[in-house]
Amino acid sequence: MEYCLQVSDLTKQYNGFCLDHVSFDVKQGSIMGFIGENGAGKSTTIKAILNLIHPDDGKIQILGEDNTLQSRECKELIGVVFDECHFHDNLNAEETGLFLSKIYTNWDDIQYKNYLNKFNLPPKKRIKEYSRGMKMKLSIAAALSHHPKLLLLDEATSGLDPVIRNEILDVFYDFIQDEEHSILMSSHITSDLEHIADYVTFIHNGKIILSDSKDNILENYAIVKCTKSEFSQIDSSHIVGFRSNAYSCEVLINNRSTALKNYSRMTIDRATLEDIMLYYGKEGM
């Protein structure tokens, strides 16, 4: 199977917001970073993938199956982590593992306990008494303990400190070492995705702006720093967005190699994923 997840023309209309023909694919064995500002449509897209909402149009295939007809066997192979822990506060980790073992056929209790040890999660302490980071680690332990092939992470690292985020990203990186495993990770923390993602899809106002390999994006996008008079020399077809002050402009372009040749007198810096998100978000043109 080349793609573990295929989203085609996904459309969902709400009052004041529309997910507009969203299409992207996640290659098997890769990590796709799904990036966008708050309210861009990341969570809505993931909810549609998980059948939590009913799209108005479009088609989604997960692990070769239509997501609306997902068999139990297919759902066994998907692990999900949301931005909040959805386990009841008055349970503890041991009790959580107990009922999950009755739900998942592939539940691996030894692996679950290993993750609890690794994450220093006391098995008999109530979830109510866990910190935010501990709750997130518990969600991740649960998502990984039934041998999933696809992990869907919806802002799983938001609100966590850098130490815990790094720890969690290492776990995901270990997960992906098996070429049959894939991750779709939505986030607005671009540094996490620069660290770990193979591919990046940008969503803005419900539309996909770009979807490409991370390396291509970082290779092709650049920030050109120029004066206001030099700005007019830049090919407008390459301009994604810009910001200006009284004396100068900063322009995001999508053709770094051409810029290096044509605008050698201007300062050209590589753009980060955060820059790209900022400039698309500002819609400076």
């Binding site: 059948n51 939590l52 909402i53 139990r72 759902k75 009841h88 008055n90 009755k102 739900i103």
Partner: protein, 215 residues
């Protein structure tokens, strides 16, 4: 389904422990000491009837439903688990009341009558009918709003009877009940079957509501 039912029991075990404690106390004080099992029976069954609402409240507090749908369980199974648990716990409550009544009769060397059985099955059926109304409302409106909605419709049967009385039909109803009273076994069976059928119909409605729900 068993995993979901186990989850509800584990999450609300404190409620169950408290319920059992109060039930034991009531059985001792009002049952064995005051010989008033007619009061104990509805009380015990009520405790188990309200358990399902407690599970919905706990689920709402954790925003559990959204996560539950991502597990390898069909939406239909999630609803069925609630109904199965409601039925099993209500049956357990009924069994406890019948058993303790029998025990009391044996201990006090009294004649064992079927009245306790009729009373228990009657209240069991009422519990099934109540859950048949409560669960779909809770799925549609959430635990808090459902409580107000149920409160507003709970008086409908009483208003219906009042309406029948004003239309002069109530005399016929009284005659019907008198006839049924002479055939108590038939009455109890009819009431129990009504309870079961209403639960099945309610489950179908709840599954339909839950299939359409978005998160």
């Amino acid at each position: 389904m068993s995993g979901l039912m186990l989850k509800d029991i584990l999450v609300n075990k404190k409620y169950l422990y408290q319920a059992f404690g109060v039930i034991v106390l009531y059985i001792i004080i009002f049952g064995f000491m005051s010989n008033n099992f007619g009061f104990v029976i509805p009380f015990v069954i009520l405790f188990f009837t309200m358990f399902i609402l407690t599970t919905f409240q706990s689920d709402e507090a954790a925003d559990w439903e959204m996560y539950c749908i991502t597990l390898p369980t069909a939406r239909k199974e999630i609803v069925q688990a609630k109904y199965m648990l409601a039925l099993l716990l209500t049956l357990l409550g009924t069994f406890i009341t019948i058993l303790t009544s029998l025990l009391e009769a044996v201990m006090k060397k009294q004649n064992i009558t079927v009245d306790i059985l009729y009373l228990s099955i009657g209240f069991l059926s009422a519990s099934l009918i109540y859950n048949s109304i409560q669960i779909p409302f809770t799925i549609k409106l959430g635990a808090e709003k459902a409580r107000y909605a149920i409160f507003s419709i709970i008086f409908v049967p009483a208003l219906l009877v009042l309406g029948l009385y004003n239309m002069g039909l109530i005399n016929n109803l009284v005659e019907l009940l008198e006839t049924l009273e002479k055939n108590k076994n038939l009455l109890i069976l009819a009431v129990f079957i009504t309870g079961l059928l209403s639960l099945i119909a309610s489950m179908r409605i709840s599954i339909m509501l839950f299939q359409k729900k978005e998160f």
